[in-house]
Symmetry: D2
Amino acid sequence: MNLGMTERVAKLVEEVRAMIENEIAPASEEYFAEVGKHPSGDRFQLTDRQLEILDELKSKAKARGLWNFWLTDSDKGPGLTTVEYAYLAEEMGKVPLAAEIFNCSAPDTGNMEVLERYGTPEQKARWLPDLLEGRTRSAYLMTEPDVASSDATQISMRAVKEGDTWVLNGEKHWISGAGDPRCTLYITMAMTDPAAEKHARHTMFLIPADTPGIEVLRPMQVFGHDDAPHGHMHIRFTDVRVPDDAVVLGVGRGFEVAQGRLGPGRIHHCMRAIGQAERALELMCRRALTRKAFGKRLADLGANHDIIANARMEIEMARLLCLKAAWMMDNVGVKEAQPWISQIKVVAPLMALKVVDEAMQMHGGSGISQDFPLAQMWTHLRTLRFADGPDAVHRRQVARAELRKYTNEKV
Amino acid sequence: MNLGMTERVAKLVEEVRAMIENEIAPASEEYFAEVGKHPSGDRFQLTDRQLEILDELKSKAKARGLWNFWLTDSDKGPGLTTVEYAYLAEEMGKVPLAAEIFNCSAPDTGNMEVLERYGTPEQKARWLPDLLEGRTRSAYLMTEPDVASSDATQISMRAVKEGDTWVLNGEKHWISGAGDPRCTLYITMAMTDPAAEKHARHTMFLIPADTPGIEVLRPMQVFGHDDAPHGHMHIRFTDVRVPDDAVVLGVGRGFEVAQGRLGPGRIHHCMRAIGQAERALELMCRRALTRKAFGKRLADLGANHDIIANARMEIEMARLLCLKAAWMMDNVGVKEAQPWISQIKVVAPLMALKVVDEAMQMHGGSGISQDFPLAQMWTHLRTLRFADGPDAVHRRQVARAELRKYTNEKV
Amino acid sequence: MNLGMTERVAKLVEEVRAMIENEIAPASEEYFAEVGKHPSGDRFQLTDRQLEILDELKSKAKARGLWNFWLTDSDKGPGLTTVEYAYLAEEMGKVPLAAEIFNCSAPDTGNMEVLERYGTPEQKARWLPDLLEGRTRSAYLMTEPDVASSDATQISMRAVKEGDTWVLNGEKHWISGAGDPRCTLYITMAMTDPAAEKHARHTMFLIPADTPGIEVLRPMQVFGHDDAPHGHMHIRFTDVRVPDDAVVLGVGRGFEVAQGRLGPGRIHHCMRAIGQAERALELMCRRALTRKAFGKRLADLGANHDIIANARMEIEMARLLCLKAAWMMDNVGVKEAQPWISQIKVVAPLMALKVVDEAMQMHGGSGISQDFPLAQMWTHLRTLRFADGPDAVHRRQVARAELRKYTNEKV
Amino acid sequence: MNLGMTERVAKLVEEVRAMIENEIAPASEEYFAEVGKHPSGDRFQLTDRQLEILDELKSKAKARGLWNFWLTDSDKGPGLTTVEYAYLAEEMGKVPLAAEIFNCSAPDTGNMEVLERYGTPEQKARWLPDLLEGRTRSAYLMTEPDVASSDATQISMRAVKEGDTWVLNGEKHWISGAGDPRCTLYITMAMTDPAAEKHARHTMFLIPADTPGIEVLRPMQVFGHDDAPHGHMHIRFTDVRVPDDAVVLGVGRGFEVAQGRLGPGRIHHCMRAIGQAERALELMCRRALTRKAFGKRLADLGANHDIIANARMEIEMARLLCLKAAWMMDNVGVKEAQPWISQIKVVAPLMALKVVDEAMQMHGGSGISQDFPLAQMWTHLRTLRFADGPDAVHRRQVARAELRKYTNEKV
């Protein structure tokens, strides 16, 4: 179980880190400063300068071979293992925009996995090239406002067959990335047969974002922020019509697709969360060494040694668990690796939230202000305790896997 | 040690609660929706409608005798005890704007205490009537960007005497309320004698907000929000001149004033935090009873009973501790009550943050969105772990009080 | 809601404290050193010296009027409120044996409550005088080895009526106090009608400890200790016969009796636990002030200020919650006070365990050794997380009380 | 960084596990039941049956090649890596006596490391063969009653040179294993030059246990247990004389020896602690599946899924951290691996204590009784938070290593 950096990935990590620090980080600031400056005043339109920034950086990344790292087992990507990818994703987590520049951003990587794994040749041909080249983006429409979507059997958007056409009606919210004007594809889960067995009621559809009947109602706010231009949109479908070949894998197989998609998506979030925790710990240490009170460096006051040590230990453990989950995905497959993916899905956001919170506290008021990236990191990380399933659901999965070792009864 | 509601305060609580629910809560939404609609586009200017809302509600409150509850021991106020006030402050914590309507908002109550307790007759005459009537507001300028202000001996803004005039130079930040155009008074701590004994270096000044040389540089952001129109401003003083009678209590006695001010101010924040926790617990219970997953109400799933029970127990304990600290202030005085004030200053925000966080989690993504008040409550509460001294400083005070019971040595 | 010490109890607290420190504490050590020295070698027989110690101290206590404080609402006792009793119980918690000397020990106080509240005049006449005078002791037989007794509807010991006689068969364990040769009464819950409604299946019996058919199998060990001579016994009933007048309150009313008994019993444990936490905090502070490492007092090292402060805050809050629960019992009755009793039942042992654990850590290895009372305090406190219902059951009660505020449905 | 089981160690783990379950576990019970049955009544003498049990099992283990696994880098042992050893030590942690049967018990492994690494040929010849063959045992005398021994510079036992002889005076306590009559060697740290630089004051001596002047005062108790016949003894040295060749490595180099010894010793404790946590989790799951309350299995009640899941996640992370620390020892050396060893030294006992505590709670009263091994596991694990340095000291090490990344100043 080799969880260390391989030589090839060590080299990539160096290149990625350098590009993030020297090129992406400054551009990222400019990019987000442009939000709202589109002539229309629309925060969900990209300005010319924003498009230019993206173009330039993505071209550089592609030219340097720093592209689509997540495509672990395909001949279209660099063929890294998930363990190797983890080290790269961690770096990408440290700066907003970084993941997109290397075409490794959520929710697109998960969506591309769906297409690659379950798509027909026609579906792949239509959607994959633009996504793999980073020319378009995509969204994943699962969560709904009216049901606790952590129990996906409750998904209620209705898809009814009329002749060769499916007609969809209902609402989705928290649709991340759907704010971006480059987002052209909505991978959408809808209920096609309410009378079927619980896990055969739903079907996954590929729906062009500009299909008539789709209406973006509003951006959901994350602690008051609209996260423009990416956005987490609240969307209504009114008689949205798609042909039969929009179905992925087969009618009633929506769950199968959703399950297959979630493994990698979840762990990528975790890897990036670990990168954020590392960045927060660095900020915390630097502050502790340079700020003084009561005649001492903060580093030498009260419980600060313990706080720093705990942060280091918790990051270290979460990273190892993440790497093990990745190794399991590489070696026994996503399905068998599920309990480990659930474990890290619970552990990584909680750990990162705690480290960032301590880092904020070490900074005093400045820690939650615009002068440091900590507050933004915290609010982003807080969403991960719901995204792709809340903690409680994942803990339940872990417990059931554990209990099954000792019984043949239902757990 | 009667910590219960007296009859008179029970009646006031009813009236305050009713006015908040029926009048202030809806007006509060309209008030904040107006932010940024001033013709100038300036988020820190009040629109006519905002002024109207404030006027109307304050007049009603005053007419009903729901006014200046915090003025516990003065013949100018209703003469409630701090314990009684606690029950009212808790209600006011549940809705933004409520505290201001009853003229019980921070930082004004603390500032009025300073004037009432340490001001000369002339100082009182100039500043108090408008503040007590709710016509103006005030700010308290302590925290500075360049030093860890939790150690107040480090405050570095310089005040130098030139003839009869003091000349102040330096920067302050996190000056809450200084964004509001009605804020006319800056109570400001500055260093007057760097060579003096550590606690005699500083002096407190009363400075009109429109004194030449004062420049508001920017609003500090709280998790990305400017909290307009109240604001937490970053301010620069360049050769700001005030006459000698701007000095409060005496040159070199800034610490004494600061200490006297902080007791009540701190506990008021705590009382309101407890109110917010109660509101969050109510939202959590309602959600748990109405939302379903896996065939059950959330209330009946997993650890949710434990989460709700823990919230109830922690609120109950924090409230009792807060009431005891208030009782100590009433019965042994602010100075002797310090260890209890420090205790509740640590306990209340941490408790409320935890309850609100669990409430958010029970709501899924909606919990952090604009559809519920939880995210806003959380970010506000998070500031209280720094405001008026970070947790670590208060824990140190509590520990030292404890250790002193067993030794005559320095602790 | 007066939670403070009244004048009369303040005086009693002084007397009790003095007697514990000066007389009971040293005698307690001698008493326990005698264990196992009975000529029979039986650790559950009292030596002559042990009997002498008990006699002498109890006589003194009685003579001084320091007796049966717990008898809050009876004309047989001193007529203290539960709030007043709390302050006394806290003192008694600090030294083993203290509670017995003042005739305030578990499980006897709860058992006397049962007799007083539910007994017939004949039952009272037979059992109460000896117990009230401290001449005999009693046990309460609820918990069974074969069922999770936290769900008391599962209690399976069978009582079958044969003519005028009840015949009991089954096993009980963790029967505290049944090791003591002075224990003459077993208040025993048994199933009398398995077909009845769930809460009407059981009946409470008064059974003389020397009834034929009763066999003490073994002492249950608490972390390896038999707690002799008190003991927590594992007992078997084989055709144990008692007449019909052994029934308390009525056949099928066992639950009612159990519920009525548990309120006071539970809170007395909590009060004593708080006393133990106070004692541990004192030991922790004294150690922190006198022991040195790395050139500093422990008090001045690392997180120790925070640890001490947290202990003080948690004790303070638990005590206030305990006092409020006591006040509720005094003012709204045991039944209405149940949610508060459940709250403190969860809070007090957890808090005390944490404080004692930190105190042990502050002492290094000595903290868990025979040189300090901390290890013994910890193991005793650990039993309280099961005794009278495990934490989880009490949290469930608290949550249900909370949820019922918002729904008429079953919670 | 291969942290997985190698093929050779997987085979050894199987053999060790089988021998523990089938042979050592039952013998272990018999062995401890014999304590105190020596004709002398001395609990620190071995009965004939005890000697027989040890002999028989050790001979079998040796014959099967299951011996001295810890000897990682020597040609005298099986040449396993520390990572490989971790998997074996985990198994040995599950049953008392197991480690000794495979000659892998504390404190002997650490002591043999000292001899192997720092001993002269004569010292090795005299002491190592018997220890390596498991014929004798040894103790390590560091901790003292009168000083906080976590700061080893305070060690105060005095060794004074008189001619060619060293004369030692002072007291040591918590000397584990010194109760065993087979313990022949005391590796003892004493102060040889109080005037020297802080880390050059002490020297390590090899002292035969039967040297005149050595007096075992008493066994220290661990939560009331003497842990006979192993024991943790309190020992007094009165004019204990040893020749100059008893010095290890050199006068004034005691610290160097102590540092070199502690790395492996510490991590072995951690590995075994992880094994105990695994055993506790298994017991917890089995109980949760077989015990019922309120009409459900415990597994299906309240927070129990979360409790089980948390236990699994925390064990998993601690194991990975332990394996990484082991890997660092193998690959960068004990000295460079120190921060990781400190990390796992903090993490493993805390984690195991928590898991065992939850397992006890899931068992109700039985969990702390003689009917399950949980209480004994807990008390043993609790000692590990002091042994080889308390948590606070290790956290300080971790924090300092972290801070040093960002400064050249002293941290």
